[in-house]
Structures are given as C-alpha cells and as structure tokens.
Symmetry: C2
C-alpha cells in the first residue's frame, strides 16, 4: 500500500545487481501472460517467477491479485483510447485513406500480439463486470471515432454507424475463426471483405 503512483517511476537506483521492478514492469509482464494464457493463467507466483523475483516483491507493489488485474485493465483501456485517437486522426481529404489504414491494421499479422490481448480481455469480460465495463468503454470510443471518419468521408449517420460496427465486429470475428483452409487466396479474400465494408 506504500506503493508509489504510476506516473512517477521512482528514480531507479544504480545497481541492485538486477534492477528493481516498478508497477509498470509488473503490468507489462502481466499483460504478456494474459495474452498467452488468459486471466485464469495470470497467477501471482507464476508471474513473479517470470520476473525473476518472488511473491514478496509482488505484494509490496500491489495489495493483492485483484489490484494487479484492475491495473492491467486500466492500463489497457488508456492505451487503446490513446491509440484509437491517433489512428483515426485525419486532415480533410485523407478520410478514406485513414479508413483503409484502419482496416489493414486489424487484418494484418504484425499486431497479432495486440489482438491476443484484446481477445483475452474480451473473454475475461464475459465473467467479470469490471472488465466488461472497460471493454464497453473502449468499444464505444472506437465506434465513435470510426463513425466520425465515415461521416467525414461523406456517408450518412446511420450508414456510418453500421459500417463502423461492421468493421470492428468483422475484425474481432476473423481473429476468432480458423478460416485459413477455406480459401487458397487469403489476400484476395480479405480484400473482398474490406470492399464490403467501405464500398458504396
């Protein structure tokens, strides 16, 4: 409970042989485990071993396991909101370009890591109200930002709303499926989906 706040990373000392951990390190490690094993795999002792320390360290930084989970949720929420605002920022004239970039973002493999976290948290939200609330907030923010993009691109309000929802639903749904053997030309298939979302 004496733990410092998040923003002020308390000035690392020089060399305790292995540099000490801050809340941020624990959250980062926890997020990785979350992505690979889900919430149920996020256990204190396992996480501690992964950080090269013991539980003693953990319970100095966090009150209990729930505190870590809450911190992970908050960190993810803020990260996603920052991210979506950066991604959907546009200057007049480049709306369609931003939309296509947004679609590519979720269809590509590079941020497979981000999607794993996303799926783990959404599954978590099925059993936990706090996680559900965070997911709802993130969804709303994303949908609103996408809606503005579509509207700026010249679509009607209702049209923009349905397209936004379709975009994200499709992104998450695809990440949940195993459709690789369904078609031998996946890039073309994805291209078709993109057109279905943005085309008139």
């Amino acid at each position: 409970m004496t733990a410092a706040n998040l923003p002020a990373q308390p000035s690392r000392p020089s060399h305790p042989s292995r540099l000490p951990l801050g809340q941020a390190d624990w959250i980062a490690a926890a997020t990785e485990v979350l992505a690979r094993e889900g919430v149920s795999g996020l256990r204190v002792e396992v996480l501690a071993k992964r950080c090269g320390v013991t539980k003693g360290s953990f319970y100095w930084h966090f009150k209990d396991r729930q505190a870590l989970l809450a911190a992970v949720l908050q960190h993810w929420k803020q990260g996603r909101i920052r991210d979506i605002e950066k991604t959907t920022f546009f200057k007049p004239g480049e709306e369609l370009e931003r939309i296509n970039h947004l679609i590519e973002l979720y269809g590509a493999n590079p941020n497979r890591k981000g999607m794993e976290i996303e799926l783990a948290i959404r599954d978590w939200a099925r059993y936990d109200d706090k996680a559900a609330a965070v997911v709802e907030a993130v969804d709303l923010h994303r949908l609103e930002c996408a809606r503005k993009l579509f509207v700026a691109a010249g679509m009607s309000e209702t049209e923009a709303k349905s397209r936004s929802l379709l975009l994200y639903a499709c992104a998450f749904g695809l990440s949940l499926m195993r459709y690789a053997p369904f078609d031998s030309n996946l890039p073309q298939l994805k291209q078709r989906l993109s057109e279905r979302i943005v085309a008139v």
Copy 2:
C-alpha cells in the same frame, strides 16, 4: 476405463433413489459450466457437486479430466455439424430465405446459450491445439455450407466465399462486443448489417 461407449446409453435402471448418471449427463453438465465459466472453471469436484454426486462417480465414467474435455469437444463438434446441415438445407427457390434465417439465428438472443458455448470453446482453442482443430473443422463446415447457399442464390464463387466469411465473422464479432449504448435503435442497426452481408 470400464466406461461404456457413448451411443449405447446403458439401459437406465429403475430407481436408485436418484437415477444414476451416464457419460451424456456429465457432458451436458460440463457444457453448461463451460458456457458460464470457461474451460478453466470446468473442475471435476465442482462439476460433481453440481450433479449431486462426488468425484468417485466422475472417475468411474471418465479416465481423467482431459477425457471429459475431449468428450465435450467431440460432442460439440458433432452437434454443430448436424445443426449447420439442417439449417442450410434448402429446396430450390428458398435460398435467400434460408440465408436470412441463418443471419437472424446469430443475431437473435434465443440461442444466447449456444453463443456462450461457442465463445468459451473459441477462447479455449487459443491455448489448446485439440480445441483449435475442432474449431477449424466446424468453421470449415459452416463456411462451406454457407458458400453453397450463396452460390445457389446466384452469386459467383469468390463473392459467395467472402460473404460467408463475413457472415460468421460478423456474428462472432458482435457477440464479443458491447455496442448497446452505441445506438438507440439496435434493430435498425442489425438490419443494416444484414443488408451489408446479403445485398448486392
């Protein structure tokens, strides 16, 4: 290991006060728990208590916990395949009607239970190869059946493929999101999505 096979439900005896359980009963109960708590919540002793018996019963019917999980997977797989073939069966002329019925199926609330199981198993598949294989098989079967429907409705092969994938991706994605506060007229929103999937 002395457990009987699945098909031959071994002729229930008359009255052991509380009628004895068969593998099918365990699988059914396990599937319910799976829907509500995920694979990690599927524990032997908890399940036994839920069935009104103790572990002793469980380990008579199943070798171990893994055997139950495997049985749940197989049961789900067969049920889904049977179901999709019934749902996508069509007589000439009623193709579009079947497609719309298929869309409604996943958009409606009635089979919320089925969707919960679906999501739990898909999350399970992210950490387990056997579950992933089952999901892949089910996905392939569904996509193929839907593709045939779209083709029969007069679409090209590539068009039918992309629409099929879009349909299921959208269905699962929506079930993963919390978009209720995004629009005050949800039925209209869903209607728009449906049109985006089937409309020319």
